[in-house]
């Protein structure tokens, strides 16, 4: 319990320190890089809540990200609503859509949810590309008031909030039910856990943060290409981050996000399209040989030393 408190205080301190970064520097490359890390943390956490805790593989995370993004962008930049409202609306729209997919697919076991989400992701991308093919830029008054620091703080807050939500979920009764459903659905059902309801709850939280991440992305990008928000690479990012870091753990998506974004930015400079091949292979290797990800790797490396003592 003491270590848990220490962790909480430490994390809060870290977030507070990171929040002051824009006060000391206005290096755009640094702020942009950190923004991408925070967005990646939120993407990873949101995927992990459903994929890691509830064990439901979502191959269309980009759909929730894209819906949140498109709704927020439209309300904020086109309809002139305040961004705070657009932000919340984006998250809620993603949740609503998630329920449409979740209700029929979760009633059935197995692969239906994975297929359904993959389908929704692609269908929304293609339909958006057909129906909204044009790039839009922000209206002049919004461009003039654009400051990177507020985007930075929003993304940091979202990364912290998603991690906190995952933490609170894990230590709640609901979270225990969710984990039980992952481990053995029949046994969970037999002990009185409503499997469908728990899966839907995990999906709702997951979609909410994916949608909010999308809304943040819409707030960040000056020129906006609707199809980009639905690009399958958002799903790839989320899945890779979660698995590389450690699926089903609280800290895994954070470690995975830092690792993924830093390595990607490094590789993208030198090896333009090959870096995705490298990540793809790394991901397969993780799934096959290191199901616990980097988190597990570090504890595995530590274990023999302990034994030696």
């Amino acid at each position: 319990m003491v270590t848990r408190q220490r962790w909480l205080i430490g994390s809060a301190l870290l977030v507070a320190i990171l929040a002051t970064v824009p006060l000391f520097t206005d290096r755009r490359d640094l702020l942009n890089l950190l923004f991408l890390v925070y967005l990646a943390v939120c993407l990873g956490q949101s995927w992990n809540i459903l994929g890691g805790f509830a064990g439901q593989v979502n191959l269309g995370h980009a759909a929730f990200f894209g819906i949140g993004s498109l709704v927020a962008r439209n309300l904020w930049a086109v309809q002139n609503y305040p961004f705070s409202l657009a932000f919340v609306a984006g998250g809620l729209a993603a949740v609503a859509f998630a329920m449409v997919i979740g209700m029929p697919t979760f009633r059935l076991r197995g692969v239906y949810f994975a297929i359904g989400t993959l389908g929704v992701g692609e269908v929304l991308r293609l339909t958006t590309a057909n129906a909204l093919p044009l790039v839009s830029a922000l209206p002049t008054e919004l461009v003039n008031t654009y400051d990177l620091a507020s985007r930075y703080e929003l993304a940091l807050g979202l990364a912290a909030a998603s991690t906190l939500a995952a933490y609170l979920l894990l230590s709640s009764r609901l979270g225990l039910g969710v984990l039980a459903v992952r481990e053995d659905e029949e046994a969970a059902q037999a002990t009185g856990v409503d499997a469908l309801r728990h899966k839907l709850a995990a999906l709702a939280v997951s979609a909410l943060f994916a949608g909010l991440a999308g809304a943040t992305f819409a707030y960040y990008h000056v020129s906006y290409y609707p199809e980009l928000a639905f690009s399958p690479h958002w799903t790839f990012d989320a899945v890779l981050i979660t698995f590389i870091g450690g699926v089903g753990t609280l800290i895994g998506p954070v470690i995975g996000a830092v690792f993924y974004v830093l390595v990607r930015e490094q590789l993208a400079v030198t090896l333009v399209s090959v870096h995705q091949v490298i990540f793809g292979i790394l991901f397969i290797v993780v799934v096959l040989t290191l199901p616990g990800g980097l988190v597990d790797l570090s504890s595995r490396l530590r274990r023999p030393r302990k034994r030696a003592k």
């Binding site: 064990g55 593989v57 191959l59 449409v100 997919i101 029929p104 697919t105 009633r107 059935l108 076991r109 197995g110 692969v111 239906y112 994975a114 297929i115 359904g116 993959l118 389908g119 929704v120 692609e122 269908v123 293609l126 339909t127 057909n130 129906a131 399958p232 790839f236 899945v239 698995f243 399209s273 090959v274 995705q276 091949v277 990540f279 793809g280 292979i281 991901f283 397969i284 799934v287 096959l288």
Partner: protein
Amino acid sequence: MSPQLIAQNLVFGLFVGSNYGLAAVGLSLVFGVLRVLNVAHGELLMVGGYVTFWLFTLTGLDPFLSALVCAPVLFILGLALNQGLFGFVERLDEETKIKNSLLISFGLTLVIQNAAQALWTADERSVSSSLVAGGTVVLGVALPYTRLAGLILALLTIVALHQLLQRTYFGKAVRATAEDWEAASVAGIDVQRTYLITFALGAALAGVAGTLVSIQYSIAPAVGIAWTLKALVVVVLAGLGSIFGAFAAGLLLGIAEQISVFILGAAYREVVGLVLFLLVLVLRPQGLFGRPH
């Protein structure tokens, strides 16, 4: 709306649907027998399309004939993928196996797609058969030769697969393994070998589908995921594991899309499949041609 126009739309739906059906049959076969859900099936199809494209560009081989090369090439690729990747999940319990195969093939999607982009650029490629210009009109319905030949090639492939599964010892082994691998194993069937060859067969089917896609549409590294999706929707419509039902469901999806394009316009073509998918899950979860559990 004249009856001719309706007939024309139905026939085109059938042409389009035969591609969906063929793309789905390989996926359905692999899932039905191995319980491996290979979401990189569309990427295999894409690779098949590139094989056709390069054969055509480098040697001038007629694309319809290149199916004869494409199928063995993809068969070998399938053998390699099963040995190197999917073989590792073979022994897991069914639920874990499906989940892990999903994840592995998802990673594979990323690898194949980006490797194709690095090797062959993101340009859209297409081939033209010697049949490309011609066509005939029957009762006022236009029938382009390439489309007709595509439909015939798809049907021939399905018939060949059906004969293989129904008339040969290997086919019997496949059906037995799909039904109950433990019992099959007790009866002396080499389950591991059956899995290996079935997976490779699924890849070969993707290769033939890729040939047809490269002729009738175009091939680019990014098309794989769209074809995986079509195949998955078709497989769910048919019922998971219903191999020949998948071809029929493919035809149905093609016709449904064609009708919706006619009514709603082309922008919402892709939505039809998804709506059908959700409707089938709610109303008839075992699929149109599947048996209830």
